[in-house]
């Protein structure tokens, strides 16, 4: 078996389909075109005709191009990273997203506004209700009914949104532990997430794909004793999270793996369009809920936790603290929630009562038109943004006056944060790639849409 071949420069190279120095110098072959881009200094060394210079390096080594994903067992969603590594150090990487593309934006153009909700469930599928709320608010803004939403509906949206944020962060934190080999804290967090999802299931009828929010409110009121159950569940979850924290935060191995890995400066993060916990980990206290309050967020007291150096541990810690803050919001919301209707009483957006639908032609027509033609949204365009699990979740909608969006674009935080991935893992080890990936929490469904 000839594992080595002699290249023109005289270097031995492993015959794994990785480019020879000649090929790298000439821009590469192997169908990867000029992919393995090298840092300029290394490039010049490899370009040098005399090998003495290369031999200055202790052991004459050369970078290897290796493909991580799209079906790597540990990537969130499916993503492909073409790595150029030197030993275990990442010298260059090319992060390729899009493997989970489901045409969300195009599908939305072929569905009525209400029918889009199930698609939004599948954006960030760890916190579907936040997407639901984000989309609903965008359409409501275009309809001009945001200010008229019933109080109770707004509170319910806050409650389910914060529960979803907790589940989102729990998943992310748990995964971070798993990605550095600690499987137990992962399952503990997932256990807590499952309790919350069970509650949401009781509320919406579905564990994951809730489709619970409606334009003008939510589809149904909270079930009996929901608030009490939520309170109990939160208490249980707090203790589980405490356990996980003690297993991780004070764990030397875990800290060694997270501290100082993949740091990001605040300026760079802003320049790269970061939002959400990742941005806050760099020390920028930007939170849509605080800076541009929507729903009833201005009525709650909560803090925006920030990190200092923007490394993986900061991202971990910010999320952990955000769970606590969400619980604080939930606490206040549970106390403040008023009684009342949960859906805006406007025949243009809300379905008439079922009894009336069956018995009067007027309601029958109203129901029929809303279902078949959809809610007629006045022509125009809107950009509406909320704080999703991973950052600013924006919906840009153009309406042509019919019952379905003419164009619907999602500003998905994951997608935008993922563009910095190459920068983050440059110089890190192979072992750091996936934990970093986990901490920026790229959710395939949201990133690839």
């Amino acid at each position: 078996m000839s594992m080595t071949t002699q290249s023109k420069t005289g270097l031995k190279t492993l015959a794994f389909g990785m480019p020879t120095p000649d090929e790298i110098a000439s821009g590469g072959s192997h169908g990867l075109s000029a992919r393995p881009k090298l840092p300029p200094d290394l490039m010049s060394k490899l370009n040098a005709a005399d090998l003495e210079e290369v031999e200055d390096i202790e052991l004459p080594t050369e970078p290897m191009t290796i493909n991580m994903g799209p079906s790597h067992p540990a990537t969130h969603g499916t993503v492909r990273i073409v790595l150029t590594i030197d030993g275990e150090t990442v010298r260059d990487s090319d992060v390729q997203v899009g493997y989970l593309h489901r045409c969300f934006e195009k599908e939305a153009e072929y569905a009525t506004y209400t029918q889009v909700f199930p698609y939004t469930d599948r954006l960030n599928y760890v916190s579907p209700l936040l997407n639901n709320v984000g989309f609903a608010l965008a359409v409501e803004k275009l309809l001009g009914i945001v200010d008229r939403l019933p109080e109770r509906a707004q509170y319910i949206r806050v409650i389910i949104g914060e529960i979803s944020r907790i589940t989102d962060h729990l998943t992310c934190l748990g995964a971070s532990a798993m990605e550095v080999g600690g499987f137990t804290p992962f399952l503990w967090m997932i256990k807590a997430r499952e309790w919350l999802w069970e509650l949401l299931e009781e509320l919406t009828g579905a564990r994951l794909t809730h489709s619970y929010v409606r334009i003008g409110g939510v589809s149904q009121d909270l079930p009996e004793h929901f608030i009490e159950k939520l309170r109990a569940t939160l208490q249980k979850s707090t203790s589980v999270i405490g356990e996980c924290e003690s297993l991780l935060v004070k764990n030397r191995i875990f800290r060694d793996r997270m501290d100082g890995v993949a740091t990001m400066s605040a300026e760079d993060a802003i320049a790269m369009g970061w939002t959400g916990p990742c941005l806050r980990s760099t020390g920028v206290p930007y939170d849509v809920r605080k800076d541009h309050p929507y729903l009833v967020y201005d009525r709650f007291e909560f803090d925006v936790p920030v990190g200092s150096v923007g490394d993986n541990y900061d991202r971990f810690a910010v999320r952990l603290e955000e769970i606590r803050q969400s619980m604080r919001i939930l606490d206040q919301a549970m106390k403040q929630i008023p009684a009342g209707p949960v859906l805006l009483d406007d025949p243009r957006v809300a379905m008439p009562a079922k009894n009336a639908v069956y018995n009067t032609i007027e309601s029958m027509i109203g129901h029929f038109k809303l279902v078949i033609d959809g809610i007629k949204v006045p022509a125009g365009e809107v950009y509406s943004y909320t704080e999703g699990g991973n950052g600013e979740l924006g919906f840009y909608i153009v309406s042509d006056g019919t019952g379905r969006p003419y164009r619907c674009h999602v500003r998905s935080p994951s997608f935008i944060i993922t563009q910095s991935m190459s920068k983050l893992i440059l110089g890190a080890g192979i072992a750091d790639i996936i934990p970093t990936f986990g901490m920026i929490n790229m959710i395939g469904g949201e990133c690839d849409r």
Binding site: Y358, M364, I372, P378, D400
Partner: protein, 603 residues
């Protein structure tokens, strides 16, 4: 929502729906935005002399229009939505529904817009609270006795009553008096069923019979809340344009026996096309879903069919579904059973024989069927030249289905049942024979080979079966046909052809307008368009390859138009010459089928 300015996007969909192969003349009901985007006053088109223009104030906006024009039409042309039921652009206005009441400053009472001619300096308000209240109350009134039928009503999804209620009303009824019941399933004629409860007494259907079909068959009987539509005693609603009443009926009172309960209207997709029923070439919308056509409805084209089409034409879609030839066959001729084979093999077989025959200098007959598209016929004429160049002796024939003099009238229907007779005659050339000549030549054994593009002959099924054996003397008989027939079964090569609704192309009607067909559904089985079959045979037989017309239907169209119109003096009247019609022909935009529910509520 009334304040919402019409969006350009909305109008582009509407415009696309109306778009025709021939440049459409500006319709009276201009789609809201196209007109409002243009400078005010230009709406009626350049033809109207400016001296007759007057200026009125419409909702505080200065609007110019022709003196004496219908106020409702002026409103619609300027993007002001005024609800209405009984008005129809193609019919007279009786102002019976009172839904279009608007306020004219100076008049104590509200006036029906559809019945008010405009005068200079008139001030019209269409959205004051008074008008809106009246509009709501009229709807409440209309709905008072309406049954809760939407789920089982054929019109649901494209119902004007539903649309108006949803756009303007939203209120519940204040009446607690039990609804008046009327007969539910009344047979009005061969094609139509009446549900009297749903009727809102707009009289549109009566006017269609009176004014379009010219036969007074429908009338109103009784009075008050027991008033109902009925046929005149001893009559049936059986005029040849009767199904137009179903189209104009704003509600589901009149339903087509053919369409009812087959498909929900909102699920259908629409593709604009042209009716293949006769040489008038009425513009239609093909309504299809799940790969099948479910109905044809007329599409507005003031030059051809205005808003109407005949009943017979509506049923032409059935031939697309039934009795189709779906796979290629190679036969031994002389009525021996043929073998099903792949299209490629059949084409290769045909091409090989054709090439041999042509170079042997034999006489080959080419049949231009008047049922096929211009593009296919043009392609055939191109191949004919190549065959002649190879040394073959070519005879051309124009055939088609038998004409029916009894169906001709002064309205839409013409005797010639072929949609493309003009085109076929043009491409077959001046010396072409007709079906009679073809049969005579066959009988006399003057032909060695025959290539039929479309196996349509003006013979009854029985007559055709009797006449079929005369092709047995041929050395090669290539037959491209959409459906099975006695003649086809005797061909050596039997090729399945796609029909009008399955291809892109054009027909030339009896006024020499070249009108565009659009592919609505996929061809059945192995069927291919005539154009493609000709192109494949020509390629395999080394007669033509890489020619422009072989690329696509659109390329064929463009080449055809330039070839035909190049030999033509500019400014020739289309009425005089077929070729002149081609000069103004336009392929138009590509069109994605729109689902009716999103086609901006047809209601």
């Amino acid at each position: 929502m009334a304040e919402t300015p019409p969006s350009p996007i909305k109008s582009s969909i509407a415009a696309a729906l109306r778009e025709t192969a021939t440049p459409p003349s500006p319709p009276p009901v201009v789609p809201p935005a196209a007109a409002s985007a243009a400078p005010a006053g230009s709406a009626p088109g350049p033809a109207s002399p400016p001296s007759e223009l007057v200026t009125i104030k419409l909702d505080g906006r200065d609007v110019q229009a022709k003196k004496g024009a219908n106020l409702l039409e002026v409103c619609l042309a300027n993007g002001v939505d005024v609800s209405y039921f009984c008005y129809h652009p193609g019919l007279s206005s009786p102002a019976v529904c009172r839904q279009c009441l608007v306020e004219v400053v100076g008049q104590p009472k509200l006036v029906p817009a559809c019945f008010t001619p405009i005068a200079d300096k008139m001030e019209v308000n269409t959205s004051t609270s008074r008008v809106l209240t009246i509009r709501r109350q009229m709807l409440e009134f209309t709905l008072v006795n309406h049954p809760v039928d939407c789920p089982i009503c054929d019109k649901a999804g494209e119902c004007t009553l539903q649309k108006q209620y949803q756009d303007w009303d939203h209120e519940g009824s204040r009446s607690s008096i039990p609804k008046v019941h009327k007969p539910k399933m009344q047979d009005l004629g061969p094609h139509i069923v009446l549900d009297a409860e749903r009727c809102i007494l707009c009289t549109r259907c009566i006017r269609v019979c009176d004014e379009v079909a010219g036969q007074k068959q429908l009338t109103m009987a009784w009075r008050g809340d027991r008033e109902q539509l009925t046929v005149a005693p001893g009559h049936q609603l059986d005029n040849p344009y009767s199904l137009n009443t179903v189209d104009v009926c704003p509600v589901g009172a009149l339903t087509s026996k053919d369409f009812r309960f087959t498909m929900r209207a909102w699920e259908l997709f629409t593709t604009p096309s042209v009716c293949p029923g006769c040489s008038t070439g009425c513009n239609v919308e093909v309504h299809h879903a799940q790969g099948e056509i479910w109905r044809l409805v007329p599409r507005e084209n003031l030059q051809v069919n205005k808003y109407w089409m005949c009943d017979e034409g509506r049923f032409t879609y059935k031939d697309v579904r039934h009795k189709r030839l779906t796979s290629a066959r190679i036969g031994g001729g002389k009525g021996q059973p043929a073998q099903i084979t792949s299209l490629d093999k059949a084409v290769a077989f045909a091409a090989e024989r054709l090439e041999k025959l042509a170079s042997s200098g034999a006489t080959i007959g080419l049949v231009y069927s008047a049922q096929t598209t211009n593009e296919a016929l043009f392609a055939l004429s191109q191949v004919a030249q190549k065959l002649i160049a190879r040394g073959a002796n070519i005879r051309s024939y124009v055939t088609g289905t038998a004409s029916k003099p009894e169906r001709a009238d002064k309205i839409l229907r013409s005797a010639d049942t072929n949609p493309n007779a003009a085109g076929a005659a043009l491409f077959a050339g001046a010396g072409a024979g007709d079906a009679g000549a073809l049969l005579a030549d066959l009988k006399a054994g003057k032909l060695k080979g025959l290539w039929m593009v479309g196996a349509d002959l003006p013979l009854s099924e029985q007559a055709l079966a009797d006449a079929a054996p005369i092709v047995d003397g041929l050395d090669l008989f290539i037959c491209q046909a959409a459906s099975d027939s006695a003649l086809l079964r005797r061909a050596h090569v039997q090729l399945p052809a796609a029909v009008w609704a399955e291809v892109d192309g054009s027909f030339t009607n009896n006024k020499h307008l070249v009108q565009r067909l659009r592919k609505a559904v996929a061809p059945q089985g192995d069927a291919r368009s005539h154009l493609e079959l000709i192109s494949q045979i020509a390629k395999k037989a080394n007669l033509a390859s890489g020619e422009k017309w072989q690329v696509s239907a659109r390329q064929a169209f463009l080449q055809m138009v330039s070839v035909v119109s190049s030999s033509l003096p500019v400014g020739t009247d289309p009425a005089q010459s077929v070729a002149a019609g081609f000069a103004s022909a336009d392929w138009g935009k590509e069109f994605l089928p729109v689902q009716l529910r999103f086609a901006n509520s047809r209601g």
